[in-house]
């Protein structure tokens, strides 16, 4: 970098602190909200950019460590910035830059009183995520991890007057806390009783196979809860819609990725000695999560809930990648393992970008129309063309369509899963193809899902009269979306460059990267294993299509003509057509509901034929509530009911307790 005096680690520590500072300033500026939106958030965005640069820089640089003058007596806060942390800093900075820009416009018309606090929580949230990524001891990690949960909780409950938001926040924090306890216990397993909680010490711990597996399961559970893995995903579709859209974008785009980071850090780095059985666990759960998520997204008609479910799906896909790489590493095929890990990391980055973009788009819609229910939208493209374009890019990207970025990571996943012949265990060899099939299915379903979203929301005609004509998003907001849209293109068109960086991460983490010939094939051709085996060049791809399109256009215009008449759409011989006759989002999800009926818990109310004003209502619910969570709640209530008998008011009985306790102990002591 150009200023050699500064180390990456120093920058990585300083920038989040600046964030917190900005937040405090924002709190101080509560009187003048204009300044908060116009100054604090853009400044925060700049910090994000700097942080992204630091991350990129750190991926190349050797790991740097530092010790902060705080923390427990034996345990000052350790921070360390290695390639992996760098990559996630890049992710955090890159995405939060766009989101902060958007937020600068989005929060303009939140009432001034809340704004200062909002700014503080927002920036503390960002800062704690940054610290999670660079923390190098269990204590700092846990602190920042929970502060992240806490800050986001307060953001989720910003509109706390709404009962649903409170419920969402509660479930969110509860799941997060229980997950955190799991992580805590995992650290407990790793650390040897002596008070040394640095990651070096945890790395050094020798574990019996049983305890290693226990640690793995605890970590997987803990981080899975945060990532929204099945069956711990329930908080996600509640919390994301409740939060203000930029925050949803951050939570879905970045926060879930910190969970992925934690998983990789703990499992690959701290526990080490990966087993393929672990990998299989991750793989299968990932597949289940992915399929489940997208199916629910397809039947959802609340835009932000839909996006949340789709996040569940993408987390599942990332887990599939991690699982593949663990399986390969566990059975001694480091190169394939590296491929899987690269796929996972790349998908994490992609998902962060396009999901951020989509949530921002949803936010723009929400702000200009006040709508979240797809069934009430329609024809927004005419009112907010820029948003529509950005959203289109996001939708194409998430549907894993070439030449955008979503496709690249999915492509890598498939390549990784095609390495399966190397494996020997027949179980795995027959399971991996099935997972690949599930992955393919998910990809296609995602396409369907986002055709539904885009077609219903932006295309067609307005389904209902709005109070005010929808306005195009403000300049700040468009800037934010533009940034992420460009990122989608860049990551889609120049994957090789990014993958080169991620390869360094792999080298640093598991000591192996892609083969030389793969790296050798140049920036234009992406060939993870060997160009004879598989190759993909998005640029050529795009150029050819563009060229053909242009050519055809010119030729057609030249040979024939460009005459055009405007008319009403053909009414199919039924003149009284109204916009309400368009298919609704529910209608679009109908085939899915029918085909995958057992997955859902569908409640329908079909009116009788002679009903004067018939009303058809239907709701799709998550079986997990009834199968898992409510029973647990009931069990707790039952137990507490019985323990409550202890406290039944009679002093004689209380005396009896202590008497019996005494006798029992005396007998015991004898």
């Amino acid at each position: 970098m150009d200023f050699p005096s500064l180390q990456p680690i120093e920058a990585a520590v300083t920038l989040p602190v600046i964030w917190i500072g900005l937040g405090v300033i924002g709190l101080a500026l509560t009187r003048v909200p204009r300044l908060i939106t116009g100054l604090v958030f853009p400044a925060g965005a700049l910090v994000s950019l700097a942080l992204a640069a630091t991350g990129l820089w750190a991926i190349g640089a050797p790991p740097g460590a530092a010790i902060l003058p705080a923390g427990l007596p034996e345990l000052p806060f350790h921070v360390r910035l290695d390639a992996l942390s760098g990559f996630f800093l890049l992710l955090l900075g890159g995405v939060s830059f766009g989101v902060s820009l958007f937020a600068a416009g989005y929060f303009r018309d939140t009432e001034a009183s809340a704004l200062g606090l909002l700014g503080l929580q927002y920036h503390v949230f960002l800062a704690s995520m940054a610290f999670v990524v660079i923390a190098d001891d269990a204590y700092l990690f846990m602190i920042t991890w929970e502060s992240m949960a806490l800050a986001s909780y307060f953001l989720v409950t910003t509109e706390h007057h709404d009962e649903r938001n409170r419920k969402a926040g509660f479930i969110y924090l509860l799941v997060a806390h229980i997950g955190a306890l799991g992580i805590l216990l995992c650290f407990g397993v790793l650390h040897g009783g002596h008070g040394d909680y640095t990651f070096e010490a945890l790395r050094a711990a020798e574990l019996s196979s049983f305890w290693a597996s226990a640690a793995f399961l605890l970590a997987f559970f803990g981080f899975g809860a945060k990532a929204g893995m099945l069956p711990l995903h329930v908080w996600l579709p509640e919390a994301h819609p409740a939060a203000p859209s930029p925050v949803s974008a951050l939570m879905s785009g970045v926060m879930l990725k910190t969970a992925i980071y934690g998983m990789i850090r703990v499992i690959y780095d701290l526990i080490g000695g990966i087993r393929w059985e672990w990998g299989l666990t991750v793989l299968l759960l990932g597949a289940a999560t992915a399929l489940f998520g997208i199916l629910f997204a397809l039947t959802e008609n609340d835009l932000k809930r839909l996006l949340a479910y789709s996040s569940v799906e993408n987390i599942g896909i990332i887990l599939i990648g991690i699982g593949l790489s663990m399986v390969f590493l566990g059975s001694g095929h480091p190169v394939a393992g590296a491929l899987g890990l690269i796929a996972a990391l790349y998908h994490a980055l992609n998902h962060a970008v396009y999901k951020g973009l989509l949530f921002l788009g949803a936010g723009a819609i929400l702000k200009s129309t006040g709508l979240r229910n797809l069934n009430e939208m329609g024809g927004l493209m005419r009112h907010m063309p820029h948003t529509a374009l950005a959203f289109l890019i996001g939708a194409l990207a998430i549907s894993a369509l070439p030449p955008l970025n979503g496709f690249v990571s999915e492509w890598l996943m498939f390549q990784a899963s095609l390495q399966v012949p190397q494996l020997t265990s027949s179980v795995v060899r027959s399971l991996v193809p099935i997972v690949a099939a599930v992955l393919a299915l998910c990809g296609a379903l995602t396409g369907m899902c986002f055709v539904k979203v885009y077609g219903i929301a932006f295309l067609g005609q307005q389904r209902q009269e709005l109070a005010a004509q929808p306005r195009e998003a403000s300049r700040w907001e468009r800037a934010g979306m533009l940034w992420l849209a460009l990122a989608c293109f860049a990551l889609g068109l120049f994957p090789v460059l990014m993958i080169g960086e991620i390869n360094k991460v792999c080298l640093a983490l598991i000591g192996t990267g892609l083969s030389e010939q793969a790296m050798a094939s140049g920036w234009l051709w992406l060939a993870p294993t060997a160009s004879s085996q598989a190759s993909y060049s998005p640029i050529v791809f795009l150029l050819v299509i563009a060229a053909v399109c242009g050519l055809t256009f010119i030729v057609v215009r030249h040979l024939f003509h460009g005459r055009l008449r405007r008319a009403d759409p053909w009414d199919c011989g039924f003149p009284a057509q109204t916009p309400r006759m368009q298919d609704s989002a529910d209608a679009f999800g109908q085939p899915i509901r029918q085909i995958f009926a057992p997955v859902f818990l569908i409640r329908r109310e079909i009116p009788r034929a002679d009903d004067p004003q018939p009303l058809f209502s239907q709701s799709v619910e998550d079986r997990h509530w009834y199968a898992l969570y409510l029973p647990i709640a009931r069990l707790t209530g039952f137990l507490s009911g019985h323990i409550g008998r202890l406290q039944q008011g009679r002093i004689s009985v209380y005396l009896l307790y202590s008497f019996l306790t005494l006798i029992a102990l005396l007998v015991f002591a004898q």
């Binding site: 005419r382 396409g447 050819v544 299509i545 563009a546 060229a547 405007r566 053909w570 057509q577």
Partner: protein
């Protein structure tokens, strides 16, 4: 291989395929007519249709968005690229590395998404209906297709079509049970993807049955022409893929002129047979109800996955 030869071959193949694509369609229709004891409109009919359409004035709904107008071109471009990649005449073309089988499937998906979006753009109930059905077909057909191709690429340890064709074509013949599964699955996908009976009926506009036609109901004139052309290209591409994977013999390597005439002959022969077969199939089978379609394609998906599994169980 020498670049110049490669480029020439590339251009040659693309142009050729683009030109003969409607012919294939015409041939299929003609065969079907014959099989059904009609005279048929002749195999040049598709060209006449295209010419007529190009001459007409385009009619566009008032609130049609730019996306609606752009879609035909994008569609056409995608299909062109597809046929450019698939080794119809020759393998290892310069474009080929740009997209392997996965990207190819992605390419078709891209086209599908755009055409569905266009179908929803006007906001008539027909368009949306078509789009929904199309995506319903697609979300099962696409993975099935992918699995089919994976079976092939597992055998040849490669996902690039060129390599697949080379490995399958240039080595002595032996039997792959997995490929049998794959072949059946592929055939089913082909029927579904190209809006043929039993999934869809290209020659009706009956709302109960139509899928593809419903989406493009709003298109007219040059746009419609491009879409039709793209459709025929798609059919050709699929047939070509089928040929390349299951009967890859006789495909020339890029740049060797000697093999070219033979390759051309082989290609035409294969196409004729394939078209006839397709027509036969369509004549023998009946259009199925729309909600049987998922079952049909689900079967295809299962078969394809089974193909992969059998590959692991039997062939290694």
């Amino acid at each position: 291989m020498n670049i110049a030869g490669g480029v020439i071959f590339q251009v040659l193949q693309s142009v050729l395929v683009v030109l003969i694509a409607p012919l294939l369609l015409g041939w299929v229709n003609q065969c079907r007519a014959w099989l059904q004891g009609k005279r048929g409109a002749g195999i040049w009919q598709p060209y006449r249709v295209l010419r007529k359409l190009f001459h007409k004035d385009a009619v566009l709904a008032h609130h049609a968005s730019p996306l609606f107008r752009a879609t035909p071109y994008i569609l056409f471009g995608c299909m062109w690229l597809a046929v450019g990649i698939v080794p119809v005449l020759a393998t290892s073309l310069p474009f080929a590395p740009a997209a392997d089988v996965i990207a190819l499937v992605g390419l078709f998906a891209l086209a599908r998404v755009f055409v569905s979006l266009a179908g929803m753009d006007i906001g008539t109930s027909f368009g949306t209906l078509g789009a929904r059905r199309e995506m319903m077909i697609g979300f099962l057909a696409e993975p099935a297709m992918l699995m089919t191709l994976f079976t092939a690429s597992l055998i040849s340890h490669s996902t690039s079509l060129a390599t697949i064709v080379e490995t399958l074509g240039q080595r002595e013949f032996d039997i792959y049970p997995s490929m049998a599964f794959a072949a059946v699955a592929f055939l089913m996908v082909l029927l579904a993807e190209n809006a043929r009976i039993p999934i869809d009926n290209p020659s009706t506009h009956l709302e109960l049955t139509m899928i593809h036609e419903a989406m493009i109901l709003e298109y007219s004139a040059r746009h419609l022409a491009l879409i039709e052309w793209a459709a025929s290209l798609k059919l050709t591409a699929y047939v070509a893929i089928g040929i390349a994977i299951f009967v890859p013999w006789g495909i020339a390597g890029a740049g060797d002129w000697a093999a070219l005439p033979l390759a051309l002959a082989a290609l035409i022969l294969k196409l004729l047979l394939a078209g006839a077969g397709l027509a036969l199939l369509e004549t023998l089978s009946a259009k199925m109800r729309i909600f049987r379609a998922p079952e049909f394609l689900g079967t295809a998906f299962m078969l394809a996955t089974l193909g992969m599994l059998t590959h692991f169980l039997l062939e290694r």
